[in-house]
């Protein structure tokens, strides 16, 4: 997914001269073709996240569309004030490409895990947050960024993820996609958790629980209409995210229900990362398992709701 997003930037840059790339201190060879063919629009600015976000804001004020790329946690925690004031307050079309959202960097420990990025960015007015579920969806999404006039946080998974999105579903920022029509139960998932939700529906369907998946690739702005449509039609809802249970997708769904259809809120169960720093290394999958974010736990949560 990361590779695809970078390739997309190169393709977008070829077709639109407003596109520039700003990296911090990424691995050697990143976007070499773009650097070679468009050296004036490729910047590698060093380990200075506060500065590069501000610099991107300055370029956006002059009509550019900067794509800023580094590790998710450094693009959120480290430069939060720049994101809030330089990008969101001034509502500028800067794109933050965040490597390793969630548990991707499990072996590197809690300093490198972006597990509250959605929560802190969701609190910022004008921010848009998108977590595609696979590389193919990433492609369909990236082209849409050219016409979006606000800052976007793009949360990347590890890469090599199974492709579960479908071309015929298209992609609109802020419009959730039904990947499997629900019966009794509905999983609402984002990012690669959608893969997990789809697997859970397969298992549950075998058991006789007909469940579906609403892929909420855009966490902000939340697709309120899809929630209004589906909630009354199902018995139980389980939200799934590779993110702390505080302030992420599940919270967004709960907040919306509380505001607009409080009678539906009891249907919701939230699966996410517990409120503690990671205390294990291992792999993304092992850490997710340690946190109880597995196909089995999704099934258990859904059975309870039904």
């Amino acid at each position: 997914m990361r590779k695809t997003s970078l390739e997309c930037i190169y393709e977008l840059a070829k077709r639109d001269d407003r596109v520039v790339f700003i990296g911090s201190d990424l691995g050697p060879g990143v976007l070499d073709l773009m650097k070679k063919e468009m050296p004036g629009r490729f910047f590698m600015e060093g380990v200075s996240e506060q500065h590069i976000v501000g610099m991107a804001a300055g370029m956006a004020m002059e009509g550019f569309i900067p794509f800023v790329n580094t590790i998710a946690t450094f693009l959120t925690r480290r430069c939060y004030e720049q994101v809030a004031l330089d990008l969101c307050l001034q509502d500028l079309p800067v794109r933050l490409i965040a490597n390793g959202g969630g548990a991707v960097y499990a072996p590197l420990g809690p300093t490198h895990l972006a597990v509250e990025d959605i929560a802190i960015l969701r609190a910022l007015p004008n921010m848009t947050i998108v977590a595609p579920c696979d590389a193919e969806e990433m492609k369909r999404f990236m082209i849409k960024t050219l016409g979006w006039h606000h800052p976007i946080y793009i949360r990347l998974a590890k890469g090599g993820d199974a492709v579960v999105s479908k071309e015929q579903n298209g992609f609109e920022i802020g419009k959730a996609i039904v990947l499997r029509e629900p019966g009794q139960g509905l999983f609402i998932s984002t990012g690669i958790m959608t893969q997990l939700a789809l697997k859970a529906t397969e298992q549950l369907n075998v058991e006789g629980f007909s469940c579906g998946v609403l892929h909420m690739h855009t966490i902000k702005p939340l697709d309120n209409n899809s929630l209004l449509y589906w909630f009354p039609k199902v018995k139980g809802v389980v939200t799934v995210e590779e993110h702390t249970r505080i302030g992420g997708l599940g919270s967004a769904v709960l907040e919306f229900c509380n505001d607009e259809m409080p009678e539906q809120a009891a249907k919701i169960s939230r699966i996410g990362i517990p409120d503690k720093f990671a205390d294990q290394y291992g792999s993304q999958n092992s850490l997710l398992g340690h946190w109880g974010i597995t196909v089995d736990s999704l099934c258990v949560a859904m059975r309870k709701q039904l």
Partner: protein
């Protein structure tokens, strides 16, 4: 102090009178720097504030905005009557300047250490597109405690942004007290030199010296320029000059305002 400098300060006092508060010391040290920039250096069109070829000016020490509001009002970016609405609920003029609200304000500033990075982005944009506008950023001395300023400085030098000039309002006093006690900046010129800037020092209240210097910009066509302006916090009001407690005042009383006008009569 000549009549024009007094006049600009009177405009600031009008805003202080209207708002009953403001960063007095931090604005007064800036007046002559902004006066010279807007009287004889920057290119702009008040009636067409977004004119593409205008020079970009960012007041990174956003808390000094009263001085910027005064000069923008003086140049007819907005009516002078607005000054008296300072900090009122529906005013355009808040305690820190906001882009999109106030004509002539290029960037929203107030949180320190942001303006130089945005200025670098603007200067880089001009370079990429071979545009002729110049970028000027004013930073405070307390502000450059922020690490982000030095990140931006490295980047400006890397890109040889000769279209970028930074002025440091070096009044030697930050909110708590003297810079050298809070966090010593010296040797300040050496620091900026070593970061790749062409550096010059000037008396930040000397109109002639400031004008002469701006005529020589850029000082080096391969480097960004940094001008250390030696200034006096609270300049113009003897009771406030060099006093940290006048950095910001709220609850200003009629007698405080009268005392300020008295100094400018």
């Amino acid at each position: 102090m000549d009549q024009r400098s007094k006049y600009l300060r009177k405009l600031i006092v009008q805003a202080l009178e209207g708002g009953g508060r403001g960063h007095i010391g931090a604005s007064m040290s800036l007046v002559e720097i902004l006066r010279v920039l807007y009287d004889s250096y920057l290119r702009y069109q008040p009636a067409n504030a977004n004119w593409a070829e205008r020079d970009r000016f960012i007041l990174s020490k956003g808390h000094g905005c009263l001085a910027l509001y005064a000069i923008l009002a003086d140049k007819d970016f907005f009516p002078k009557e607005y000054l008296r609405t300072f900090c009122k609920p529906a005013s355009l003029l808040g305690g820190h300047p906001e882009r999109g609200k106030v004509p002539g304000i290029e960037a929203s500033t107030g949180a320190l250490g942001h303006g130089l990075s945005m200025g670098v982005g603007m200067a880089l944009a001009a370079k990429i597109r071979e545009q002729i506008y110049r970028v000027v950023v004013v930073v405070g001395d307390g502000e450059i405690n922020e690490g982000s300023v030095w990140e931006a400085a490295l980047s400006a030098a890397k890109h040889k942004l000769s279209n970028l000039t930074v002025f440091v309002d070096y009044n030697k006093l930050q909110s708590y007290g003297p810079n050298h006690e809070v966090l010593n900046l010296e040797p300040l010129a050496d620091k900026w030199c070593s970061f790749g800037f062409e550096v010059e020092e000037v008396d930040g209240h000397d109109i002639n010296a400031l004008e002469k210097l701006t005529k020589r910009l850029p000082l080096n066509n391969q480097k960004p320029t940094l001008v250390i302006c030696h200034t006096i916090k609270g300049k113009g009001f003897p009771f406030a000059e060099g006093k940290a407690e006048w950095h910001h005042k709220s609850g200003l009383k009629p007698e405080d305002i009268a005392a300020m006008y008295e100094c400018l009569s």
